[in-house]
């Protein structure tokens, strides 16, 4: 028989299916309030920033405070474009998955600013070790959409020869490392890469992304030890989108007040920021990148955001959280907020926005047509079957040569 009172503490979210969505427990400090220390600050002196929330865009969509990166309107419009494209791409790919065109898909809806602003604030030569919901980086770095789609439908032009599940992109030319399905493994790798950048002295840095849930993995903590010990030029982004599939963030957070605060235990500079605020993400990344490049070490950035859609095409959020939560997320929608900011500056308007959405939707549709012309997972053509024996080693040994013969290819 089930006990009504648990005998040990198991955290639970504030609302479950059937409850009225409610985020009133979340404390949102005013925009512009957070201090912006010099990038050479001692890690431990960022305690207030690890516990607070860096926000630049206020409720009137105006940029306020020390963290305002003061970007040109052109940069803001570019960021808006990448975010709108990311969303159009995600929406289209979800539909195509539902039509059976691919085995699996993961959207980044509501989190577009985290990837796009983060990528734009770094140099294109900096290496990124993303987790699976940062497709915005690829758009910001200019990857060909057809190539992305060819990967997702595992066709003959998939640059990964059909070896990876959809959305597990690799793009070496764009300094985008391979995405793993095993969570948090990219964290110590990013630190090692960053140390190698220092060793080479080429001025490059590395950045990595991890979800709130995956911070429970040992690799997260191991990576922070390494980053701290070797003062590695790396940015560790924790994307706290509140949900790890069906598990709310409290299961990974435990008694820690914030995810950023975990960085304090390692003496690392740690910032908690509004992840739905393009300007805050840009400013924090820019700060961390300068800190890393100047030899002051790593920064942990918690992007406080909300996963507005399902984890993937394999789960239904109505089974674990109330409907309509995304509509009342207190930090709004990143695209809408940047759009309103630009409109407020007189640098954008509804008409142009509608036209942009139309243009990018059409681009996505046309790109898919082209991608499909190179084959689909269902109907082929795929990469040649014999390619399954390639790239296991630089050269196949006798076992692989024989096994290829056994398969008759």
């Amino acid at each position: 028989m089930a006990h009504t009172e648990p005998r040990f503490h198991v955290p639970a979210p504030h609302a479950r299916p059937g409850d009225t969505p409610d985020f009133s427990h979340i404390e949102i400090p005013p925009a512009g309030e957070a201090k912006r220390p010099d990038t050479s600050v001692e890690g431990m002196e960022t305690r207030d920033l690890a516990l607070g929330l860096v926000r630049v865009l206020d409720h009137n969509h105006q940029a306020v405070g020390e963290w305002d990166p003061k970007l040109d309107a052109g940069v803001l419009r570019e960021g808006l474009r990448h975010m709108v494209l990311t969303r159009a791409y995600d929406d289209r790919m979800l539909k195509l998955q539902r039509q059976g065109k691919m085995s699996f898909y993961m959207k980044s809806t509501g989190e577009e600013a985290v990837a796009v602003a983060g990528a734009m604030a770094m140099s294109k030569d900096d290496m990124v070790f993303p987790s699976y919901r940062q497709q915005g980086i690829l758009f910001a770095r200019g990857r060909d959409i057809v190539d992305m789609m060819c990967h997702c439908i595992s066709n003959s032009r998939d640059n990964l020869k059909g070896r990876q599940l959809p959305v597990h992109y690799t793009w070496a030319e764009g300094k985008f490392f391979s995405i793993s399905g095993n969570l948090a493994t990219q964290l110590p790798q990013a630190v090692g890469y960053a140390m190698a950048c220092e060793y080479r002295g080429d001025g490059e840095i590395a950045a990595t992304w991890i979800g709130d849930g995956s911070t429970a993995e040992g690799d997260f903590h191991g990576a922070l030890v390494l980053a701290s010990t070797y003062r590695a030029p790396v940015i560790v982004n924790v994307v706290n989108n509140q949900w790890a599939i069906s598990t709310f963030q409290g299961i990974a957070a435990g008694e820690a007040p914030t995810f950023a605060y975990k960085g304090m235990g390692y003496g690392l500079a740690s910032l908690r920021i509004d992840g739905n605020d393009f300007l805050a993400v840009y400013a924090a990344t820019q700060w961390a990148a300068k800190r890393a490049r100047d030899g002051h070490g790593a920064t942990v950035i918690e992007h406080f955001t909300y996963r507005a859609d399902a984890h993937s095409t394999s789960d239904d959020p109505s089974g674990y959280r109330p409907k309509g939560e995304n509509a009342i997320w207190p930090l709004g929608d990143p695209i809408e907020r940047l759009k309103q900011h630009l409109i407020g500056l007189g640098e954008w308007d509804e008409e142009r926005h509608v036209a942009l959405e139309k243009e990018l939707n059409e681009l996505v549709i046309a790109s898919y047509k082209e991608a499909e012309s190179h084959g689909t997972l269902h109907d082929g053509p795929l990469s040649p079957v014999e390619s399954i024996f390639e790239d296991v080693y630089a050269e196949p040994d006798w076992r692989l040569r024989r096994q290829r013969q056994d398969l008759g290819v």
Binding site: S178, T185, P188, G192
Partner: protein, 337 residues
């Protein structure tokens, strides 16, 4: 030519490679300033600096992950896992990451890390300092698995491992670090100085990964072994007066089936040996492959000489260890059949 024990030979390999190639760096728990608990990385920090030979925090997953990231940037990391019993926290990084980066990126990225790790028993290490976990890694496509049995091979193979474009798990049988071993627990420690494979060039040389060596020619039975058991098998054959042909495998992945099959087709009898527990060990793979290749030449069932399916005991270490008597029993069985 210099006389070296296996520790000195491995150190010489690292020294040669670090001198030649600034991308080669070495790290691990206690592997920096102190030079490693077995001294394999001794003096490297003094000679090459803190950023090329350094101490790592006690987190094998982080050590493996760090090495992978460095290799992705083009460095050639040689990471030490202090005892192969400690490699398991790093297993996800080896199995899911290091081994597959080339494959899952279709060659866009490669991570040719060398993982050096002392293995095996016979040093009163108890269950957490005596394991031979090599078979786990032979189940992982994308890594090579090497285990030398003497100083000369150790140096040549470690250099080959560092120069390899693919990751290598490099097992160092620690019972052989300081001298050859005949498997008799009570015997005095002999010295590599009196062994032909203790003659080691100070200069750079490499031995091919994937190539076995017939270390004792014979016609009655083939014994396939690697690591410590190569020497134990030799001692056992001498003691029993059996005309055994002994193959030192040296590389488990990819193993040299050609040399093995050639020998078994000649002798018609075969023993495969490993120090690890019996079930699903690498000897099982060898036995399966040998019967596929040589079934019609075999005159007796293939015998396995292995550890027991128990953890490695401390007090009864020598009852666990597959010593000469177990080899002699196996030889008797296979020759009587």
């Amino acid at each position: 030519m210099a006389k070296m024990n296996m520790i000195q030979a491995l150190n010489s390999a690292l020294d040669n490679m670090m001198e030649r190639d600034p991308d080669v760096i070495s790290f691990g728990e206690d592997a920096g300033y102190f030079g490693g608990v077995f001294r394999v990385t001794a003096n490297l920090q003094t000679k090459y600096g803190l950023d090329r030979s350094f101490d790592a925090p006690i987190n094998e997953a982080a050590i493996m992950g760090m090495a992978i990231g460095m290799a992705a940037k083009g460095l050639k990391p040689v990471a030490e896992i202090q005892f192969s019993d400690y490699i398991f926290p790093g297993l996800d990084q080896i199995v899911s990451e290091m081994s597959r980066i080339r494959y899952r990126t279709a060659g866009a990225f490669t991570t040719p890390v060398v993982v050096r790790t002392p293995c095996g028993g016979g040093i009163r290490g108890g269950q957490t300092h005596s394991m031979s976990p090599e078979a786990f890694f032979t189940q992982v496509p994308g890594v090579q698995v090497v285990m030398p049995s003497n100083p000369y091979d150790a140096k040549g193979l470690l250099i080959a491992a560092i120069e390899s474009p693919d990751p290598v798990i490099f097992f160092e049988p620690k019972r052989l670090y300081n001298g050859p071993f005949d498997g008799h627990s009570g015997g005095a420690l002999s010295s590599w100085a009196n062994h032909p494979k203790g003659e080691v060039p100070e200069d750079h040389y490499s031995l091919p990964i994937g190539k076995a060596e017939v270390v004792r020619e014979g016609s009655a039975v083939t014994i396939v072994a690697y690591g410590t058991l190569v020497l134990v098998a030799q001692a056992a054959a001498e003691k029993a007066g059996v005309d055994a042909e002994i193959i030192d495998l040296k590389t488990l992945v990819p193993y040299d089936i050609e040399t093995i099959a050639h020998s078994v087709n000649k002798t018609g009898r075969c023993i495969v040996a490993q120090e690890a527990p019996r079930t699903s060990g690498f000897a099982a793979e060898l036995a399966a492959q040998i019967q596929e290749e040589c079934f019609f030449a075999l005159e007796a069932p293939i015998q396995r000489v292995t550890g027991w399916d128990t953890p490695y005991p401390h007090a009864h270490e020598w009852s666990y260890f597959p010593g000469p008597d177990r080899f002699i029993n196996a030889m008797n069985t296979v020759l009587e059949a």
